[in-house]
Symmetry: C2
């Protein structure tokens, strides 16, 4: 890591390093000629100041941390894209870390960010840290960070902090209602991970829509606590083989949706003739194959961009009360929600 430093430049230009610093930062008085001379020397040596030294000296880094559960998931890589675009544009540096949805790794990621003295953090927590103890722990850790934080996608209750969230409840409500409006009466739900708050919110949206529309909740139609594709597959397969199976499903997440689709395929059912549904988020490749699957659509890249903007804004107005942006997912009906006349 040996390279020319400000001192070298100063010496060669025959000025003091303060002057070079002024030139670099374009502030403070410095005469036209001196500036030109210094610039020439800098160019000649391809001089690039050290962010390390600069941050240390200014007591303020230009690095921003991003913690996401996984990079290899279209939702999170969409967030990353949005964040990255904004930060690039604004001249910040992006430090990224994944938690694998694991609490310990999440803590380690937080510590790594503190170690790097990030100016701020954009954070998709591995879980919601709901118990009193977990919450305290998390509050303390976020406090130790020493900079602002924007919580993204997965809320942490009671945390007085900027956040960018989805309105999971409304989304689920709208999706379920779309099925009702299409004429369905027997509607099931595949709720996904109800350990996560977003999972529970979606389940509640479904329930509310059912009840508000004069239908009744039917326990066996509610597949909850399925965390992955496999579990969803098995449970959907079982439910669909019963005589009084639902005619439609609201499917609260991607993984479950894939399990569902596999089950439907194995049972040789037709969508939507035999079974209808509305999902949450586009499936990877759904647009590629132009499949007529209805879903709740979130502008994922936008979500990430918003979070980054919010964080940057917070740098300028540290005292402004915490902001809470809740984005309502857009319902995209493409046909899979339809109720077909009995054949």
């Amino acid at each position: 890591m040996k390279s020319v430093n400000i001192q070298d430049i100063a010496r060669e230009a025959g000025v003091g390093k303060a002057t070079v610093s002024r030139v670099i930062n374009g502030k403070g008085y410095v005469s036209r000629e001196t500036a030109a001379k210094v610039k020439a020397v800098m160019e000649r040596h391809h001089y690039q100041p050290s962010a390390l030294a600069r941050s240390l000296s200014k007591r303020e880094s230009d690095a921003i941390g991003l913690i996401i559960p996984e990079a290899n998931n279209p939702f999170f890589s969409g967030l990353l894209t949005g964040v990255s675009e904004v930060l690039d544009k604004c001249g910040y540096t992006l430090i990224i870390r994944t938690s694998g949805n694991d609490r310990e790794r999440d803590y380690r990621a937080l510590e790594a960010m503190r170690y790097q003295r990030v100016r701020g953090l954009i954070y998709v927590p591995a879980c919601n840290y709901e118990s009193e103890q977990d919450f305290e722990e998390m509050s303390s850790r976020l406090g130790d960070l020493g900079g602002p934080c924007v919580i993204l996608d997965r809320p942490i209750n009671k945390l007085d902090c900027d956040c960018v969230l989805s309105d999971n409840f409304s989304g689920a409500y709208a999706a379920t209602e779309a099925l009702i409006h299409a004429g369905h009466r027997a509607i099931g739900v595949i709720a996904g991970n109800t350990q996560l708050m977003i999972g529970r919110e979606r389940l509640e949206g479904y329930r509310k829509a059912i009840l508000q529309n004069g239908l009744t909740l039917h326990k066996p139609y509610q597949i909850t606590g399925t965390f992955g594709q496999k579990e969803a597959y098995a449970q959907v397969l079982a439910l669909l083989q019963k005589p009084d199976r639902p005619t439609a499903f609201f499917i609260a997440n991607n993984h479950s949706e894939i399990g569902f689709l596999n089950a439907v395929r194995d049972l040789r059912l037709k969508i939507p003739a035999d079974i209808a549904f509305v999902g949450f988020d586009e499936l990877p490749g759904q647009l590629v194959f132009e499949l007529p699957y209805s879903c709740l659509n979130r502008e994922v890249v936008q979500l990430g961009a918003k979070a980054a903007q919010m964080l940057i804004r917070r740098f300028d107005e540290p005292a402004r009360p915490a902001e809470r942006l809740v984005v309502v997912p857009r319902l995209c009906l493409r046909g899979s929600e339809k109720r077909m006349p009995k054949r």
Copy 2:
């Protein structure tokens, strides 16, 4: 960015900061009791040293840069995942930046990495920098970086530098040969971006396979220079409507494959009965939908992990000759390559 520093700890523990430093780094002599005392104070204050100061002092940062064209693409987010896993495990910090396949942004990314004084760089270039001038420019910039670099996926000719590449030629050759072995004689190619070397290598693999197997190259069957889905769509649509159309295609990349599939769908052709193919890389969602599309499969996450390992290894052995890892894509035949008897 105000937090307790090594001085505060030293004062409170009643020792010198050198001692605290020794405790932090676990090297140098320090008595059991002193160490315990210091550790207690550090814990009490949640003390975390500053990577900034540490790097500056050691003249060596633990940040590693990653430059990729886009984050929102399964191939690159797979690389990112692999890189990230290895770096996390080895205690490095990951700084990421995207180029959008744009040369200027690529340069800016490189500069950002230098600014941050990354210890090393993992780099998927925006293009191959093939002209003499571009090459010189790039060499110089990589040299200025002051640390080792691993080139990933897209080679830069003549650059004496570690790299992790795919054997595009062999892959294309194998894919084309699979079509030949399946009984096809009229085989086309959709070569994608022949501006990029990987595009040309794939085209060459196709050509060699055709010739080596006693077939002849037919110009109209070779769709080259298509950069995206739209162009591929239009050209495939045109070609497939000709009377002497190919019975099969080797499709050199994802975007082209999507264009191809759309054209095939719009012409109501059946795969593989009417038209067969083998693609390069899995399509996003291909596995989800369990589509029987044959392709060349690269262990993407592995590729990223390999690059990271190679970089880290280079830190320890700076003098070792440049390493060049060329991974041969694995051919996955799932049915779309078949030649069906004439109906």
